[in-house]
């Protein structure tokens, strides 16, 4: 292994910053590093000076000092104020990270032992690979089929755990075209280290090129519509009238009055729960236990498709989230690709459980 001395040549000390938020996180990182460096230096310096100056000499006694309240207060309050700057800066970044811009392009991610499945609004799918255009905010909505995973792109400085039963989101705007690592950073079993992939940030033109062709089975909304038929949703949820079931038109992004008096917002997570476990929250005015439980019938990916369809029924859905319609950059040159899976970074065979 020592033969490999070229190791040192590709020694890298600082990661590339390829997203809009990477800059501010790096800024905070350097601020922390400067403060830490200064503090460490000062402490070391004092220790060395004292150790040098006051080393034990015969006949010289130590001077006994009680302490000093003033000093103590100074060196607890001042550092605390410095730390508040870390807190404040960090909080700002974090707050921004939790609030994706409204015009973000939506991509859906499903984590599963041990692969990442990516779905685009146009219905195409990839495994362990994510393609995004540079300069366009991208919001990832992530679900897990089994255990907790964590979706991380170091070059973008984004990361979020993907918890089963939750929808977790992150967003970023790529700023530099390139080929970046995608890691799972929450331990999830044997092949945790192989739950990796690549993120390709592409110039918008190239991206459009790549994206053209779409999924073979139509966009997410179409796929969702098909599922809506296949799973018999349409037998109850008539789209024009309201019988025993709520009308799903206009549901998305609106408050829903529940039978137990609470009000919730019909966001992705709510719709997901309403499909998989309809009785968890009963809509006011309807009977529980009519709608079948779809947990175990539908995969997280299917749910994402259904949600896309239900969203498309609502005029208040932000334009960017309405499937392929507005979001696709202009198609420049058809590529003739139409497999459901576009690329697979590493050919990983999902282990059977």
């Amino acid at each position: 292994m020592w033969a490999n001395l070229s190791l040192l040549s590709d020694l890298q000390l600082f990661p590339v910053a390829a997203s809009a938020q990477a800059g501010s996180i790096d800024g905070l990182y350097w601020w922390l590093t400067i403060v830490s460096g200064v503090m460490t230096f000062l402490i070391f310096l004092f220790i060395v000076i004292f150790a040098w100056k006051y080393q034990r000499k015969p006949g010289v006694k130590a001077t006994q000092i009680e302490g000093s309240t003033k000093l103590e207060l100074t060196w607890s309050i001042l550092p605390f104020f410095v730390m508040l700057s870390f807190f404040w800066w960090g909080a700002k970044i974090y707050y921004a990270a939790q609030n994706p811009p409204k015009n973000a392009m939506e991509v859906f991610v499903t984590g599963k032992q041990w692969m990442w499945k990516i779905q685009y609004p146009d219905g195409s799918r990839e495994i362990n690979a994510l393609h995004v255009p540079v300069g366009q905010p991208v919001k990832l909505t992530m679900a897990s089929e089994d255990v907790i995973h964590s979706f991380s792109i170091p070059a973008f400085r984004v990361r979020h755990d993907v918890v089963p039963g939750h929808y977790d989101t992150i967003w970023f705007t790529a700023t530099k075209a390139g080929h970046y690592h995608l890691f799972c950073t929450e331990y999830c079993g044997n092949e945790h280290a192989n739950m990796i992939g690549w993120v390709d940030a592409m110039e918008p033109r190239e991206y459009a090129n790549w994206a053209s062709g779409g999924g073979g089975g139509g966009d997410l909304v179409t796929q969702g519509q098909q599922l809506f038929q296949q799973n018999g949703c349409s037998t109850c949820h008539l789209l024009d009238s309201q019988g025993r079931c709520p009308n799903l038109r206009g549901l998305y992004n609106h408050p829903v009055q529940l039978a137990d008096g609470r009000t919730v917002l019909a966001d992705d997570a709510y719709i997901r729960e309403s499909i998989l476990d309809p009785n968890a929250k009963i809509t006011a005015g309807f009977e529980p236990n009519i709608m079948p439980v779809f947990k175990g019938q539908l995969s997280e990916e299917n749910v994402i498709q259904l949600i896309a369809y239900i969203k498309s029924l609502s005029p208040t859905t932000p334009a960017s989230q309405q499937g392929e319609r507005l979001q696709r950059p202009v198609v420049l040159a058809p590529q003739g690709k139409n497999g459901a899976i576009k690329t697979g970074a590493s050919p990983i065979v999902p282990a059977q459980r």
């Binding site: 039978a259 137990d260 009785n279 968890a280």
Partner: protein, 228 residues
């Protein structure tokens, strides 16, 4: 440590009588340490049960409907009866401590045994309840069923908590019964008297604590959402 160099004098006699251990200076110090130790131990118990209470609080606010609906399967009469039984046992325990403080050996044994009887009655009633749950398929993980079936999932969480909490409580009761048995034997041998009754007092504290846990479990598990 058994070897005593000096012939037993007044101090040694006193030390023997109060079961003073070698590393304490005075019986008072020994009792004080025991009391503080016992309370510290009870704090750990508070936090031990606290983990389950936290989980309960979270899931109850998450799934109020399901939780309320489960009270239908909780037998309030049995639960209430058990509360009363435990309160009685607490009274007899307190009386037992008092008897020990007054050096009344017979009374002490009597009250300890009464406490044990109450404790056993509690466990028997609990057993009946558990049996009923078993027969009704309300034990999560063992052919669990639930009506209304739309609460099936979330009711399972509640019943899990029900069994964890009452089960842990019951285990504490069993341990308490063991400790009481030990006390009865010691009392029989005439160990306890006005100058030495710390074990009775300490185990009494433990017993009351277990009672307190139930005082909270009863309303939380049986009464919430309970409608007649």
């Amino acid at each position: 440590m058994a070897e005593t160099l000096v012939p037993a004098g007044q101090e040694e006699l006193e030390a023997q009588e109060t079961h003073l251990r070698h590393h304490f200076a005075t019986p008072e110090q020994q009792t004080d340490a025991a009391t503080l130790g016992m309370w510290t131990f009870l704090i750990t118990e508070v936090l031990f049960f606290g983990g389950m209470f936290t989980a309960y609080a979270i899931y109850r606010t998450m799934y109020p409907g399901a939780f309320a609906s489960t009270s239908e399967f909780m037998d309030v009469r049995l639960g209430g009866a058990n509360t009363a039984v435990l309160i009685c046992s607490s009274l007899t325990m307190a009386l037992a401590v008092r008897a020990a403080q007054l050096s009344r050996r017979k009374d002490l044994i009597r009250f300890l045994i009464l406490t044990m009887i109450f404790g056993t009655v509690f466990l028997v009633i609990k057993g009946i309840e558990y049996h009923a749950k078993w027969v009704e398929y309300k034990v999560p993980g063992f052919r669990f069923t639930y009506e209304p079936s739309y609460y099936f999932h979330h009711a399972q969480i509640l019943f899990s908590l029900y069994f964890y909490m009452t089960g842990m409580h019951a285990i504490h009761m069993v341990v308490g019964l063991g400790l009481l048995t030990y006390l009865v034997i010691q009392a029989w041998r005439g160990i306890f008297h006005a100058r030495y009754f710390a074990p009775v007092e300490m185990i009494g504290l433990y017993w009351h604590f277990v009672d307190i846990v139930w005082i909270f479990l009863f309303p939380l598990l049986y009464l919430i959402g309970h409608k007649r």
